[in-house]
C-alpha cells in the first residue's frame, strides 16, 4: 500500500504541482547583441542573437522568467484582450463565432467539447443497439461476433486512425469512391472544417462504441427473465419491453459507461495526429502536444497553462459524478 500511495503522489500530484508552477513562467527572451559590421562600403549595425548568452541564461533558470498569470490571458490561451475587442466591435453573432474560432484555445475547446458531447451519446446508442442484436444471436455465433466488434476499441488509437485515414484519403478506397459518387474530383474529407469534424466524430464513435457494447451486453445478461415474461403476459410489445424493462434495468450501467466515455473522449488526441487534421480541428490535448513538440523550442509555459485549463475542464466534467460517488459510498460505507 505504501509504495503504491507514494508512487501515486509522486507521479500524479507532483506533475499537477509542476504544471501549476510552470504555467506561471515563460521562456526567456533571446539575448540580443548589437554588433557593428564594418566593410569596404561603410559600417552597418546588426542585431544578432547571442546564442551562448541565451543558452547560459536558459541553463541558469530552466523555468524561464516569471510571468504571473500572463500566459493564461495571452492570445494563445484565454485571449482576454482579443475577446474584449471582438465583443466590443463585431458584425453580428456569425462574425463573433468566426473570429473566436481563430483563437487557438477556443478553437481547441470548441472541437473538444463538440467531440465529447456528440461521440458520447452516439456511442452509447450504437453500443446498445449492437448489444441487443448480439444478444439475439445463437450461442455459437456470439464469440466471433464479439471478437470482431471489439477490434476498433482494442486497436492502438493512432494506428486505428491511420488505417481509416488511408482509406478515406483521396487515393484510398472510400475517398476515391466518394469522389466517384459525387462526381467531384476535388472532393476531400480534409477540405473543410465541417467535413473534418464529421470524419473525426464518426471515427470516435467507431472507436469507442465497442466499449459501450461490451458493458451493455453484460448488463443484458442480468435482465430478469421473469419481469420480461410478466411484461409479455401483460401484453407489452417488443419495443415496450425494451423501453420499460430493459432500459430502466440498464440505467446504472449507462451512467457508468457515459462517465468513462466522457473522460476518454475529452482527451481526444491521437485521431488528430493520425488524420493530419490539425488545420481544421485541434483539441486541448493536441495543443499541449504541439507546444511541447514545437519546432522552435518547447513552450513549457504555454503547454502548462493549457494543461491547467484542461485539468479545470476535467474537474468541471467530473464534479457531479464525484459528488454522487461520495454520497453513494457514504451511504454504503461498511
Amino acid at each position: 500500500m505504501a509504495p503504491s500511495a507514494l508512487a501515486m503522489i509522486l507521479f500524479i500530484v507532483v506533475p499537477i504541482g509542476s504544471i501549476l508552477v510552470q504555467s506561471l513562467f515563460v521562456e526567456h527572451e533571446r539575448v540580443l547583441v548589437t554588433v557593428e559590421n564594418c566593410g569596404p562600403f561603410g559600417c552597418t549595425e546588426e542585431t544578432r542573437v547571442d546564442t551562448a548568452a541565451t543558452a547560459e541564461l536558459r541553463a541558469e533558470e530552466p523555468l524561464g522568467r516569471f510571468n504571473g498569470l500572463g500566459t493564461y490571458i495571452d492570445r494563445g490561451h484565454l485571449a482576454v484582450d482579443e475577446l474584449a475587442a471582438i465583443l466590443s466591435d463585431n458584425a453580428g453573432p456569425g462574425d463573433i463565432a468566426a473570429r473566436v474560432m481563430n483563437l487557438p484555445f477556443y478553437k481547441a475547446l470548441a472541437f473538444t467539447l463538440a467531440y465529447t458531447l456528440l461521440v458520447t451519446p452516439l456511442c452509447m446508442a450504437l453500443g446498445f443497439a449492437v448489444a441487443l442484436a448480439v444478444n439475439a444471436l445463437p450461442r455459437l455465433a456470439k464469440g466471433p461476433v464479439i471478437f470482431l466488434t471489439l477490434l476498433p476499441y482494442i486497436a492502438t488509437p493512432l494506428l486505428g486512425a491511420l488505417a481509416v485515414f488511408w482509406m478515406i484519403n483521396t487515393d484510398g478506397i472510400i475517398g476515391a469512391t466518394l469522389q466517384a459518387i459525387f462526381d467531384d474530383p476535388t472532393l476531400s474529407l480534409q477540405a473543410s472544417p465541417m467535413l473534418t469534424w464529421i470524419t473525426l466524430i464518426v471515427w470516435g464513435i467507431w472507436h469507442m462504441a465497442p466499449f459501450a457494447f461490451v458493458v451493455f451486453y453484460a448488463g443484458l445478461q442480468t435482465v430478469p427473465a421473469d419481469t420480461l415474461e410478466s411484461a409479455m403476459i401483460d401484453g407489452a410489445s417488443r419495443w415496450e419491453r425494451i423501453l420499460y424493462v430493459t432500459v430502466p434495468h440498464l440505467k446504472p450501467l449507462a451512467i457508468f459507461v457515459g462517465l468513462i466515455l466522457l473522460m476518454d473522449n475529452f482527451r481526444v488526441f491521437e485521431p488528430i495526429i493520425g488524420f493530419s487534421a490539425e488545420a481544421n480541428a485541434t483539441s486541448l490535448s493536441w495543443s499541449i502536444y504541439n507546444d511541447l513538440n514545437g519546432q522552435g523550442g518547447q513552450l513549457f509555459g504555454s503547454a502548462a497553462a493549457t494543461s491547467v485549463l484542461t485539468t479545470i475542464g476535467v474537474m468541471i466534467l467530473l464534479t457531479p459524478v464525484l459528488i454522487r460517488t461520495w454520497r453513494g459510498a457514504g451511504g454504503r460505507a461498511a
Binding site: P3, I12, V134, L151, L162, E270
Partner: protein
Amino acid sequence: MSATPPHLRPSMTASALAIGFLAVWLLVAAFPFFWTLWGSFKVEADFFSRSSWWNAITGPATERQTGSAFTLAGYEGAWIEREFWRAALNTVIVTVSVTTVSLLFGTLGGYALSRSTRNYTVWILIAALVFRAMPHITLVSGYLLPFFELNVWGVLPTAIVVLVAINQPFTLWMLHSFFLSIPKDIDESAMVDGCTRFQAFRLAVIPVMWPGVITTGLFSFLLAYNDFAVTAMLLNQENQTMVPKINSFLGTVQTQGSIMYAVAATVSATVPLFILVMFFQRRIVAGLTAGAVKG
C-alpha cells in the same frame, strides 16, 4: 445465459433486421483492418491507386514492379532498412516491465486495501476516477521539464515508471475489487494455522487470485502497448517504441514507397494485439465490465 424460452424469442422479421444491422456493423468495425492487412502486401501505386481501388485488390502495379501480386517490400523497408525491429524490442521491454511492476505493486496494495479495516474504498475510487480522467499529455507536460533537469529524459526506465504511475490507480481499483471477492476466511484460517500475514497472502491467496491478476495485467499491457502521448514525448529517437516510430515514418519521409513502410509497420504492430485479444477475449470482456457490474 441459458436458452431463451421459445415464447420470448424474437420474431422472424425482427431477427432479420437485427442480423442485417449486425452485418453492417461488423463490416464497418473490421473492414479497415483487413483492408490494411491486404494492402500492406502491395506497392504504393496499388494501395493508394489514383485510377481505381480495385487495383489494391488485384495489384497490377505490384506485379509490374516486383513480378508477383504480393510483395514484402514494405515489411523489408520498415523492419530492416528503417530498423523497426529496434522499436519492436523497445515495445516488448516497456510493456513487459510496465505489466510486471504494475501487478507487483497492485497486488500487494490491493490486497492490503481489501483486508484493511479502515474504509479506504471511497478514496481509492475517487483517486482512480480523477486520475483516469486526466489526459495523459497534461501529466507529461508536468514531467518533461523536471526530467530534463534530472537528466533522465529519453530512456526506457523513465517511460516505464511514468506508465506504471498513470496505470496504478486503475490497477489498484480493479485488484482491490477482485480481492474483496476472495473471502477473508481463506487467509484468516491460514493465519489461525500459524501463517504470518505475508505467508497467508503467498500460500492461500496467490493461488486463487490468478483470474483477477491476469485480467488486470491485460489492461496494464494494453495501456502500455497503445500509448502514444507518453512514449512520444519522453523517449528519444533510439529508444522509441512502435507507435511513435510509426508516427515518425509519416512525418519525415516523403520518398516513393515509404508510406508503405508505415502501412507494413502498422500491420506488424496490430496483428500481435489482435491475436492476444483472440486468446484472452473472455478476460478482456470480464475486465471491461468488472467496474460496471459493481456499480
